[in-house]
């Protein structure tokens, strides 16, 4: 029942032991010690558990680990490069776009995916892209500002 599974997480190959149908979230958190993605609902309805698979923001709470294959998985901690925050992380910090911070992982991952696909999103596009990410503290206005700031910071990096 337990299988050896190869995963590529934050640029590193890992061999883990897990039953095929184990959701990716538990393998990341408990076998690989990754703490960015969080359990929120287990039903792909809140976005707290999001990771990037390739460049897609994907919920990890139901996705069987055996279905991921060797696609590149990037978690919140993997967005950092050489100890430097990713522009989206920096933007969230600069806007103080958080209260409890439990939803932050999904917000940042969703924003990173959005800006790769749509470097200059409209306000409506941003809201739609984040509608699957729930926040109970009401940090929405700051998060919206952070996405705009991330857009500017990412554009700077491109230049």
């Amino acid at each position: 029942m337990s299988d050896q599974i190869i995963l590529v997480v934050n640029g590193k190959r890992h061999t883990v032991q897990a039953a095929d149908d184990t959701p990716l979230l538990y393998v990341l958190r408990n076998e690989l010690g990754v703490t960015g993605p969080q359990y929120g609902c287990g039903e792909e309805a809140c976005g707290a558990c999001m990771v990037l698979i390739g460049d897609q923001a994907t919920t990890s709470c139901k996705l069987p680990v055996s279905r991921v294959g060797t696609s590149r998985i990037t978690t919140l901690e993997g967005l950092m490069e050489e100890g430097e925050l990713h522009p989206v992380q920096r933007a969230f910090l600069e806007e103080q776009a958080s209260q409890c911070g439990y939803c932050l992982n999904g917000m940042i991952i969703s924003t990173a995916a959005l800006l790769w696909k749509t470097p200059h999103p409209s306000d409506v596009q941003i809201r739609q892209a984040l509608d699957g990410n729930l926040c109970r503290c009401g940090s929405h206005p700051r998060i919206l500002r952070a996405v705009h700031r991330a857009e500017a910071l990412s554009a700077e990096r491109e230049d």
Binding site: G42, E77, F92, R127, L134, R136, H140, P141, L144
Partner: protein, 706 residues
């Protein structure tokens, strides 16, 4: 400003390290509001040290003072005050030491960045670390040490960034959910399908060959499965065959408010002023209205989680509780251990806004760890959180007003029916775990509390009576939720005064100002009106367009003597669908001295959005045996597409005491929106949530009567 504990040992609050670091101890906990940063600002300011040299230790029963619960927007005013006095005492003590060692008078000394210097001879200087040499103060906080005048503040009053966010944006382990201890096992619970259901049979053989399963623990109606790995615990909990017998325990939803009001009640008259009966008899007009508000879920984004390690007669518990010491007492009682044998360490959870499942899950972890003799981590599922977390109670309010020939209020009678909002587990039997172990429902609380909050208004009506009818049976499990009865009472008060203003054709703000005499209160209402470009006219505007626009206002002084808040809401109602779009919320806010302006703004934004979500969308649903709001589909909350523009005006009062900002703005949103819907359409919604169905129904009712 009085000290909370004037005889407290200074060393319980402040320690100076040999490295120059200042450690400050607070019995309060960080609930995601940023108080860790704000408290550090207060300490750094009063001690004259750079902020980065202050380290806060919070909510650990082995290290910090007992400050009860972190609740009621009290952290800044209580723990902040205690720390301010302690820091001032420490500063005075070190100045006296320096005076002796530097052979200078106190007047000759100045303090900068944690060093005391002889002002006219800067070579003679000692740092706090050198003065203390790692020793304790061995002094008590006297309450007499001079406090820095607020006009000299350099750290307090500034928007320093939150100290926790760099870790959080980087995904570092900071939450209770991230706690891992050696030899730790994972557990999940198998709960009854509904409150009061009894265990009939459990077939342990249904899970006997499951990989990783360590133990099935069953005591009374409490069942937990413990496994080596988290996914194994989840699978075993799902596969375990259990039969329950459910009972009818709830009224039908349509009968709820009648069932609440039919109970024998414990009545308290909060305000009795003037001769009410005479005032009504002399009134030229009278009005009646009844308001209803449902149960609300805290609905934390992360379900409750805890880790416990029971070793013999000692236990270490990692918990996101709001009350480390009270929970310690309840757990000690549950285990029959001395309280000193329970070490409770607070770790941040997802935002809780009141009593969610954090206390209960700690008890679950304790029971399971004791059963297996190893540390156990328990995480509730999303559905468990919705089913078992204590809800904000449903409330019904009846209002009766009498007007004179000028249309002004001469008589005001307020009656509220509510269960107690206080069910916090100071004692074991308020813990869900204890109730399941014993197979007995929660006992009725020893005292009722919370429904009186903001039942009285700050309006100077000549004759008034305000009565709380405490209802013993809450049906659903209830406890504290942000502002307790404050938001539900304010919805009724601020809707009714709007109804009276409309009845006499008065502008809603002008009408409120007739009864407000406190200059600070008047200033807040006027500031909100100005910022919102309020156009003075009576409501409703009676436009018949398919998209009806309106604006509404609400005002309150939280707990009648705390922060003052006013909100102007601008809405658009789509007549065909009944959808209410809130376009803009403008708020004026006076919470006295502001410690961290950006932190206060963050709290106000959060209060507005969460309370708007409650007003527009939220209602815990149930049938006669069980709660049916069990996930984000059946208990939807506000999403990004529904979030309005928010504009906040902070009124800083550096000469006034600092008041909490964690709750006040939560009370004004629902009435401001209801009043704006009335302004737009002429329909008066006296029950939340303002769902499209309810709006359509009210519009069609109005169509019939017109």
């Amino acid at each position: 400003m009085a000290a909370r504990k004037p005889d407290a040992w200074l060393d319980d609050w402040i320690a100076i390290g040999t490295d120059g670091m200042v450690t400050a101890f607070s019995g309060k906990v960080e609930l995601g509001t940023g108080v860790r940063t704000a408290l550090a600002q207060i300490v750094a300011e009063e001690l004259d040290v750079p902020l980065e040299r202050v380290r806060m230790v919070m909510g650990d029963t082995a290290l910090t003072p007992d400050e009860g619960y972190t609740a009621g927007s009290m952290t800044i005013s209580s723990s902040g005050t205690a720390l301010r006095l302690a820091a001032a005492e420490a500063r005075r003590a070190m100045l006296e030491m320096a005076s002796e060692r530097l052979d200078a008078t106190l007047e000759e000394l100045s303090v900068q960045e944690g060093a005391i210097t002889v002002t006219h001879d800067p070579q003679r200087s000692l740092t706090y670390a050198e003065l203390m040499g790692g020793k304790r103060f061995n002094l008590r906080v006297t309450d007499q040490a001079p406090l820095k005048p607020p006009e000299t503040y350099q750290i307090v009053g500034t928007s320093v960034p939150r100290e926790d966010l760099p870790r959080k944006v980087a995904g570092q382990p900071v939450f209770i959910h991230d706690v891992r201890v050696p030899e730790m096992l994972h557990a999940r619970l198998v709960r009854p399908p509904s409150s009061g259901a009894k265990l009939m049979a459990m077939d342990e053989s249904s899970v006997k060959d499951m990989p990783g399963l360590v133990k099935v623990v069953q005591r009374g109606d409490f069942i937990g499965v413990v496994a080596e790995r988290e996914e194994q615990a989840i699978r075993a909990a799902r596969q375990l065959h259990v039969q329950w017998q459910a009972h009818r325990v709830y009224p039908r939803m349509e009968d709820l408010y009648r069932a609440l009001r039919e109970q024998p009640t414990e009545d308290r008259v909060l305000v009795e002023q003037g001769n009410l009966e005479q005032a009504f008899a002399g009134a030229t007009r009278q009005a009646h209205a009844t308001y209803y508000q449902p149960y609300h879920a805290h609905a934390s984004i992360g379900p409750s989680c805890a880790v416990a390690d029971v070793q013999g007669d000692r236990v270490t518990v990692w918990s996101s509780t709001q009350g480390p010491y009270p929970l310690r007492g309840a757990l000690a009682e549950l285990l029959n251990f001395p309280a000193d044998n329970v070490h409770l360490i607070h770790v941040e959870g997802a935002g809780c806004y009141g009593q969610n499942g954090s206390d209960d899950v700690a008890a679950d972890a304790v029971i399971l760890s004791q059963a297996v003799g190893r540390p156990v981590r328990v995480l509730w599922s999303r559905a468990e959180e919705f089913l078992w977390e204590p809800k904000s109670p449903a409330m019904a309010v009846e209002l009766h007003g009498g007007l004179d020939s000028q249309g002004s209020v001469v008589a005001w009678e307020y009656q509220v029916w509510s269960p107690s909002h206080a069910r916090r587990p100071r004692v074991a039997n308020q813990l869900l775990t204890a109730q399941l172990l014993a197979g007995e429902p929660a006992p009725t609380p020893r005292f009722s509390y919370g429904a009186e909050r903001n039942a009285p208004t700050n309006y100077a009506f000549p004759a008034q009576r305000v009565t709380v009818h405490y209802v013993p049976d809450s049906f659903l499990r209830v406890s504290s939720f942000r502002s307790l009865g404050g938001s539900k009472n304010t919805f009724a008060n601020e809707s009714f005064i709007d109804e009276l203003a409309a009845a006499v054709g008065a502008d809603p703000i002008e009408y409120r100002l007739r009864y407000l005499h406190d200059p600070r209160e008047r200033a807040v209402l006027a500031a909100a009106a100005e910022k919102a470009d309020w156009e003075s006219r009576p409501s409703p505007r009676t436009s018949e367009s398919a998209l009806a626009d309106g604006r509404g206002v609400a005002f309150a002084r939280y707990e009648n003597d705390q922060a003052i808040v006013a909100c102007v809401a601008e809405v658009q109602v789509e007549r065909d669908t009944g959808v209410v779009r809130v376009k803009r919320l403008v708020v004026a806010h006076d919470c006295g001295l502001i410690i961290n302006p950006d932190g206060v703004r963050n709290q106000i934004e959060g209060n507005l959005i969460q309370s708007l979500s409650r007003a527009l969308k939220e209602e815990v649903e149930f049938d006669e045996t069980r709660i049916t709001s069990v996930d984000w589909g059946t208990y939807p909350i506000l999403t990004f597409s529904e979030v309005p523009a928010i504009e906040i005006l902070l009124i800083d009062r550096p000469d006034q005491p600092a008041l909490g900002a964690g709750e006040p703005a939560t009370v004004i949103t629902a009435p401001a929106v209801a009043n704006a819907i009335f302004d737009a359409t002429g329909i008066r919604l006296r029950q939340t949530a303002f769902t499209p169905e309810r709006v359509r129904e009210a519009l069609s009712e109005r169509g019939k009567t017109d």
